[in-house]
């Protein structure tokens, strides 16, 4: 691992992630997520589905895969239009900061509004990282952002939320390992799709997704 991975996974990297809750805002609104226990369950589900898919896509994009084809693979694995839009919005943000942080010709090969996982793979490669690192960042980000969103929205104890995220580390590692070994996963969670679609219609949302 190089320090570039720490930068890539840092929630303070100004790529726009702070305004996305990964379904947490709507899960709270619908009473699905209420406390530390249900947050842990929510994050596990997220990691095993959209986290695993993002990890696989990021690893493939980092490893020199056809970026346009991978972007289409990301579309195919994201049935919710709201989630596709959220992913492309975050991909655009990551490209903006990634270009400045790690100049590389690879940025120009990306589509205009790439999926976040594809941009993450390119950022990892441009930063001198490998596919396993890209998968690691994708898997970690699939839970770290939503955990922070829950902390803010429910005024949870930040120490508890930090502990929840920290204790998911073995599972995050496992998802990253399998993303490299097993190729592109196609896991999906209808709950996350549903939450995102309902959330997108709300006028009173604080988070972008």
């Amino acid at each position: 691992m190089t320090a570039a991975l720490l930068t890539l996974a840092d929630s303070r990297l100004p790529a726009g992630g702070h305004a996305h809750s990964g379904g947490v805002e709507q899960a709270i609104a619908m009473g699905v997520l209420t406390d530390a226990g249900s947050l842990t369950t929510f994050l596990r589900r997220r990691l095993a589905t959209s986290g695993a898919v993002a990890a696989g896509l990021a690893a493939a994009a980092c490893g020199g895969g056809d970026l346009a084809a991978l972007d289409a693979e990301a579309d195919a694995r994201t049935p919710s239009p709201a989630l596709r839009a959220a992913s492309r919005q975050q991909g655009r943000g990551l490209v903006r900061v990634g270009r400045r942080a790690w100049p590389s010709a690879a940025w120009d090969e990306l589509p205009a509004l790439p999926h976040h996982a594809i941009a993450l793979g390119v950022a990892a490669a441009a930063g001198g990282l490998g596919p396993r690192d890209a998968a690691q960042a994708a898997a970690y980000l699939s839970v770290s952002g939503p955990a922070t969103a829950a902390q803010r929205l429910l005024a949870m104890d930040p120490l508890t939320v930090a502990a929840i995220t920290a204790r998911l580390a073995p599972e995050v590692d496992d998802v990253a390992t399998r993303a490299v070994a097993d190729g592109l996963p196609a896991a999906t969670d209808p709950l996350l799709d549903l939450l995102a679609e309902v959330h997108a219609t709300r006028k009173d949302r604080i988070f972008a997704s």
Binding site: A4, R12, P14, A15, G16, G17, H18, A19, H20, S21, Q89, R92, G93, R96, V97, R100, W102, P103, S104, A126, G127, G128, A149, R152, L153, K203, D204, R205, I206, F207, A208
Partner: protein, 222 residues
């Protein structure tokens, strides 16, 4: 290893107006000080002269945007609201991605755009805009918040390119001393301008509009 490059290439140029395209004016300040009312007044006053648009950063995304639609005679396609994920301060200073997206969207939609106001969500005295997002920033206080506020300072009060103290008409009712506010502002602002206004008495915000005109003029020499 990542490609070598010269960090100096990325060091921000000092001063204002480093962004191409329209002049971007940040409007910050505490809740209730009159940011949205000032934005609406400036849009009305300057809307005939300049091709302009507004980005809002509200708690909920449409409150300020709806106010602007009603009060600023701005069509929907000139107002973009961004979500700030419970952190209005982050969205204007630490991670400006969503606001940059909104500004770029407005620029793409209106190629002749000359002026964009970026209105922050109501925040505290430490809130300020990143110059990665805006060219110049206005910090809006109000008299009813107490005449001690300029003395308390904070980045918004001390470093904003223009400090506006709004609601001077309320001064007698809340026991605020405008001379104290004027003097304390001058003391902490190192020569940068402060304007005391009342949008109720003078709804065109003419003095602030003049300041904005000057920012556009110095940026594009005639």
């Amino acid at each position: 290893m990542p490609p070598d490059h010269n960090l100096d290439d990325y060091v921000d140029a000092p001063g204002a107006h480093r962004h191409g395209g329209p002049l971007r004016v940040g409007l910050g300040g505490p809740v209730g000080s009159g940011k949205t009312a000032l934005a609406a007044a400036l849009c009305r006053t300057l809307g005939e002269e300049f091709d302009l648009a507004v980005v809002t950063n509200d708690i909920y995304t449409t409150e300020d945007a709806d106010f602007l639609r009603r009060n600023a005679v701005l069509p929907d396609d000139r107002i973009e609201a961004v979500q700030t994920g419970c952190c209005p301060h982050t969205a204007i200073r630490d991670d400006i991605t969503a606001n940059l997206d909104a500004v770029e969207l407005l620029e793409a939609r209106h190629p002749g755009l000359e002026l964009v106001f970026v209105e922050s969500g109501g925040d505290n005295l430490t809130a300020s805009f990143s110059y990665g997002l805006i060219d110049v920033q206005i910090f809006v206080l109000d008299v009813a918040g107490g005449d001690k506020v300029p003395r308390k300072g904070g980045p918004g009060v001390t470093a904003a390119d223009l400090l506006v103290v709004n609601k001077t008409d309320l001064a007698p009712m809340v026991g605020a001393d405008l001379d104290v506010m004027r003097r304390d502002s001058a003391a902490v602002r190192g020569g940068k301008p402060t304007l005391l206004i009342s949008l109720r008495d003078e709804p065109t915000a003419a003095a602030v509009a003049d300041w904005v005109r000057e920012q556009i003029r110095v940026r594009v020499p005639a």
